[in-house]
Amino acid sequence: MTPKTTKGLIIGGLLLATSLVVIYFRKQLKLLSEACYYISGGVVHALGMDNVSITIFLKVTNESDLTIDLSNMMFKVYVNKMYVTKIVKPEKQKILSKADVIIKLDFQFNPQDLLRAGLANIAPILYDKEKLVIDIKGSLSARTGIVTLRDFPIEESITLKEILAPSPDGNKCKKKTA
């Protein structure tokens, strides 16, 4: 083999290796951006006329081959379209490759505040669990060693009844919408 051929083979090999690395990371990035989530259940700690306290479990699945760090998590909670609270999580949560993590969203509110804010009647939605609809709207950052996806949107809507008795069919993994 002439020196020229050897040099050509080395350059060709390097180009091939670089291309494979780029293809691999592009695939992982796509999987990362398609990380899916759903509300897997919850606990109602209190359900009264002057205090409602609920924990919702948001399950996030990492389908990529890379470990992800979730951070900068912020969620706004709406009850029957009325804003009740904002949840900020000042921590990092690690999701290993092909694994999932449960993000606990604790919130409480005083139904009297909803009445004051314009809701006509709180009693029917407290006592009919299908009528109490909770919307979670928020975002988080997902980061691997080299890639950060900022403002990954999270949007879920669920009734109190579904929280308390999640149906297996209802647990459909939801992909990023943006």
């Binding site: 900068n72 949840i87 000042p90 921590e91 990092k92 606990k104 604790d106 005083n110 900022r150």
Partner: protein
């Protein structure tokens, strides 16, 4: 840390009305974010302190003025040189100083970084102030050290998975060794109960940060 959170508002009491809350959000989104947004996002990423919390403290402490100075504190997050020095020593002593934080500190402190590098595990002070007022006028360094301080407080004042931002507000404002600071640290009741026990200035700090129409509620 495991699954910690803070739900806002922490109290229904408010310092701002809806009009001033909107004006505050406008100032943050139109003035502070364009100027410091990239730095704050990066620092939030490496310190793990939510960017909203950093923006809120920047707003309350300096209204986004990097040259804000009092006899005691300097810059965007109004830090004193002594506090800033102790924060960095403590962070290193706790073994929590991340690589990216170290790199940033080396960039600004040069040879003085050695004082931090030589800190032993669990060491809390070196009895020396090595951060200057001039250092703290640099926005990125000020934001980094202030955010590290906030992360230390988040770690310390998380109770049953809930971050006590009310206590953090009081201690950030008065210091942990003040009478009010000690009272906040020892407080075991609700945010509303804490507000009734402390002077108006610190009560206002809490409602500005985490009350109804507060900064934390209004950003994003």
């Amino acid at each position: 840390m495991a699954n910690i959170s803070v739900s806002i508002p922490l109290t229904q009491k408010s310092f701002y009305d809806t009009t001033s809350a909107k004006a505050n959000a406008d100032r943050i989104n139109n003035i502070i974010k364009p100027k410091y947004g990239k730095i704050i996002d990066n620092i939030s990423k490496i310190t793990n302190v939510p960017s909203e919390l950093i923006y809120s403290f920047v707003f309350i402490e300096s209204r986004g003025s990097e040259t804000a100075e009092t006899p005691y504190a300097v810059g965007l997050l109004q830090l004193s040189p002594a506090t800033a020095s102790d924060v960095l020593i403590k962070e290193k002593g706790l073994g929590r100083l991340e690589k990216e934080e170290s790199e940033m500190l080396k960039k600004y402190l040069g040879g003085r970084y050695e004082l931090i590098a030589n800190v032993k595990p669990n060491q809390k002070t070196i009895g020396k102030t090595f951060i200057t007022r001039e250092d703290l006028l640099k926005p990125e360094l000020n934001l980094l050290i202030g955010s590290i301080l906030l992360s230390q407080m988040i770690n310390e004042f998380t109770e049953d998975g809930k971050v006590r931002l009310d206590k953090i507000a009081v201690i950030y404002n008065t210091g942990r060794f003040s009478k009010v600071g000690k009272e906040a640290i020892a407080h075991s009741g609700t945010t509303d109960e804490l507000i009734t026990k402390i002077p108006q200035g610190q009560a206002d700090y809490i409602t500005k940060l985490v009350g109804k129409h507060s900064l934390m509620e209004g950003i994003v």
